[in-house]
């Protein structure tokens, strides 16, 4: 893209070349969502620890009962969604920092999305199944 846009001799001014390529006012959305999900998980940490503690030593029947109750299911769902989102953004930052091969970077980012969404959906499905009592 840049190679054809900027031939060695161009009639376009430097300003003309970059105009409209700058801030699309969405560049900070990942940064902001990383903070939202981080704060959310910090707030949810104590409830989640309490839930895990409640489950210690209980068998599957007990676990089903606890995880399936409405407030606990909601706490777990919020935590799962926040953590999947948070880890997707965080891993993408790491990939963008360390993977410099363009193709490998795109594949890594794609796999990161797949993994995060798969973990989120599998866990969400499990919670919904427990909450619906089937």
């Amino acid at each position: 893209m840049s190679a054809t846009d900027t031939p060695r001799r161009s009639m376009r001014t430097p300003l003309g070349r970059v105009r409209n390529l700058g801030a699309a006012h969405s560049g900070t959305s990942d940064f902001w969502r990383q903070r939202i999900t981080g704060v959310a998980m910090t707030l949810l940490m104590i409830p989640v620890i309490v839930v895990v503690m409640m489950l210690l030593g209980s068998n599957q029947a007990g676990a089903k009962l606890i995880l399936g109750s409405l407030p606990i299911a909601v706490i777990m769902l919020l935590f799962i969604i926040a953590s999947a989102w948070h880890m997707k953004i965080g891993m993408q930052v790491i990939i963008e920092d360390y993977v410099h091969n363009e193709k490998l970077k795109l594949v890594s980012i794609m796999l990161n999305n797949f993994f995060s969404i798969a973990v989120a959906l599998a866990s969400t499905y499990a919670i919904l199944k427990l909450a619906s009592g089937v």
């Binding site: 676990a63 995880l67 953590s83 891993m91 599998a122």
Partner: protein, 112 residues
């Protein structure tokens, strides 16, 4: 102190660790009788306990280290001594919280 790399490392560990969380939840929701027992057998084993202990520490450290970043985002704590203090607080706090959680867990019946 260069703890930002630890923040990333614990982040990666937690990323992989979500597999354990997903496995546990799916097993709990599963209709097959052995699935949940398998998870409990794993988390009850020495290796499993070490992994969950490590996961607990990674989570606590990452959270406190993250709160440190929130403090910086809000524009505080940039002086050299403040940066040091925040970093040490995250480091020591993470270890203390992890041990505290495990003491409580054992006390209320994690030993099976």
């Amino acid at each position: 102190m260069a703890l930002s790399i630890v923040h990333r490392a614990t982040g990666i560990a937690l990323y992989v660790g979500t597999l354990l969380l997903a496995w546990w939840l799916i097993a709990a929701a599963s209709n097959s009788a052995g699935a949940y027992a398998n998870v409990q057998a794993f988390t009850g084993s020495i290796i499993g306990r070490l992994i969950v202990f490590g996961y607990t520490w990674a989570l606590m450290h990452h959270m406190l280290s993250g709160i440190r970043h929130f403090v910086w985002d809000l524009g505080f704590g940039f002086k050299a001594n403040e940066r040091e203090a925040l970093t040490w607080a995250a480091l020591i706090g993470g270890i203390v919280l992890t041990i505290l959680i495990w003491i409580i867990a054992y006390a209320i019946g994690g030993v099976r």
